[in-house]
Amino acid sequence: MVESHIAKTLEDALKTLNSGKFRIVAGGTDMLIQNRSHTGMPIGYKDNVVYINLINELDYIKEDEDNVYIGATTRLETILKSENAPKILKNIIHEMAGPGIRHTATLAGNIANASPAGDSLVGLYVLDASIKCQSVDNTRIVKIKDFIQGVRKIDLKSNEMITEVMIPKYDFSRFVFKKVAPRLSDAISKLSFVGAIRIEDNEVKDLRMALGAVYMTVLRKEDIESKYIGQSIGELKNNIELIIEDYNSFIKPIDDQRSNKEYRKQVALNLIKDFIMKS
C-alpha cells in the first residue's frame, strides 16, 4: 500500500521528501485525474504521496523592487485576485479552468506538471520567471526554460520541491495572450500564445513571444527576438514575412485528438503575425 503524509510545514515536507520516494500533491487537480480510479475508491497513486497544499507559509505573493515572489501553495484564484501579480499571468489564469478548480490548484503544480499545453508556462517564459527548488540541505534557483526539460520532464531531484516562483518586474508597452481552445476556461489548450513588446520613441526596445502546445516544450526563440530589437516599429512590421519565416521551421506541432498539426501551425503563425502587425 502506498503511504501518504499530510505536511503542514515546509520543514516537514522536505524531511518527508528526503526519507524515501514520494510524489508531491498540491491542489491535486492534475494528480487526481492522472491517477483516477473508480467512483468511491481512493485515488490510485502509484507511489507514496506527500500533500503540501496546507503549508500556509508557502501561501503568499510578495514583492520587492525587482521581483514578484509567489509561494508554491498560493492558489491560482489568489493570484488572479492579487494586486501585485504580473498582468500577463493574471490574464492567463483568468482563462484557466473555472473558479472551483482555481481555488485549489496552484501555479507550482501547473509548472511541475510540465504539460506542453500548460497555460501558465507561455507567460512564465515571456516573463523570464525562475523557479526556487528546495531540499533539506539545499536551495537553488533555476530559469523556467531550464527547469522544463520536456513533456512532463522537469529539473527536480526526488528530495526537492518547488517552493517559490520568482518573476522579474517589467513594463511592456503592450502584450497579448491568446488561447485557442474549444471552450474558454475548462478546456485544454490546442494552442496558446503570449506576445509582449516594449516600444520607446518608436523603437522596439524589447520583443518577446512564446507559443504553447506547438512543440514538446514552450517555444521561445530569444535569438530571433533579438534580431528585431532596435528596429523602428515600421521596420518591424515591414519585416513580418521574415519573422514568420524565422519561426516557421521551429513550429513542429504533434497530431493529437485535440487538433491536427497543419491547423496548429497555421494558427501559430497567424497569431505571431497578428501580434506584430497590431503593435
Binding site: 501518504s4 499530510i6 491535486g28 504521496v49 500533500y51 473558479p99 472551483g100 478548480i101 475548462d186
Partner: protein
C-alpha cells in the same frame, strides 16, 4: 489510515480513513450527504461543488487530505442559511431550474460568487458560473436567477 478532522456544515468531525479518498465520496458515503452529485468526476461540470473555507471547489477533485483542519459546507448545510433562501427563491422565480441535477452546484457557485462580489454584472456572473455545466436551461435563465438573488438579497452578502 489517517486521522482527518474538519468542520462539516458547522460541526467538527473526525474520521479515521484513507486521506487519498475524494472529498465527494466521503460526503456521499460516510455522511450520506448526497446533494453533491458526481457528473464528470474530472472537475469539468461542477455538479459536485461544495464550499471550502467559503469558496467553491469541485469535491470530486479534492483529496480528503486537503481538507484537514478546514471548513466544508455542502448544499445541505448551506440550505439552512438566509442566503440560501434568497438564492433558492430567485432560481424558482426566474426559472433557473429544470431537471435540477446541476442546481446544488449552481447554488453553491452563486453563493461563492456573491460572497466576493455582492453585485456582479453579467460578465462576472458568467465567470463565476464558468465551472458549472447545465444541460437544460441554456444558462440565460440561471444568469437571470443570480441577478435576481443579488437584487433581492442586497445587503446580505
Amino acid at each position: 489510515m489517517t486521522e482527518i478532522k474538519f468542520k462539516l456544515n458547522g460541526k467538527e468531525q473526525t474520521l479515521n480513513t484513507d486521506p487519498n479518498r475524494r472529498l465527494l465520496d466521503v460526503l456521499r458515503e460516510d455522511f450520506k450527504l448526497t446533494g453533491s452529485k458526481e457528473g464528470c468526476g474530472e472537475g469539468e461540470c461542477g455538479a459536485c461543488s461544495v464550499l471550502l473555507n467559503k469558496q467553491i471547489v469541485n469535491s470530486c477533485s479534492v483529496p480528503l487530505a486537503n481538507v484537514d483542519g478546514q471548513d466544508i459546507v455542502t448544499i445541505e448545510g448551506f440550505s439552512k442559511t438566509k442566503e440560501y433562501q434568497v438564492i433558492k427563491d430567485s432560481f424558482a422565480t426566474a426559472g433557473g431550474v429544470q431537471c435540477g441535477f446541476c442546481t446544488p452546484g449552481m447554488i453553491i457557485a452563486t453563493q461563492s460568487l456573491l460572497n466576493t462580489k455582492p453585485r456582479p454584472n453579467d460578465y462576472e456572473i458568467k465567470i463565476g458560473l464558468s465551472g458549472n455545466l447545465c444541460r437544460c436551461t441554456g444558462y440565460n435563465l440561471i444568469i437571470k436567477s443570480v441577478k435576481l438573488a443579488a437584487k433581492d438579497g442586497d445587503g446580505l452578502w
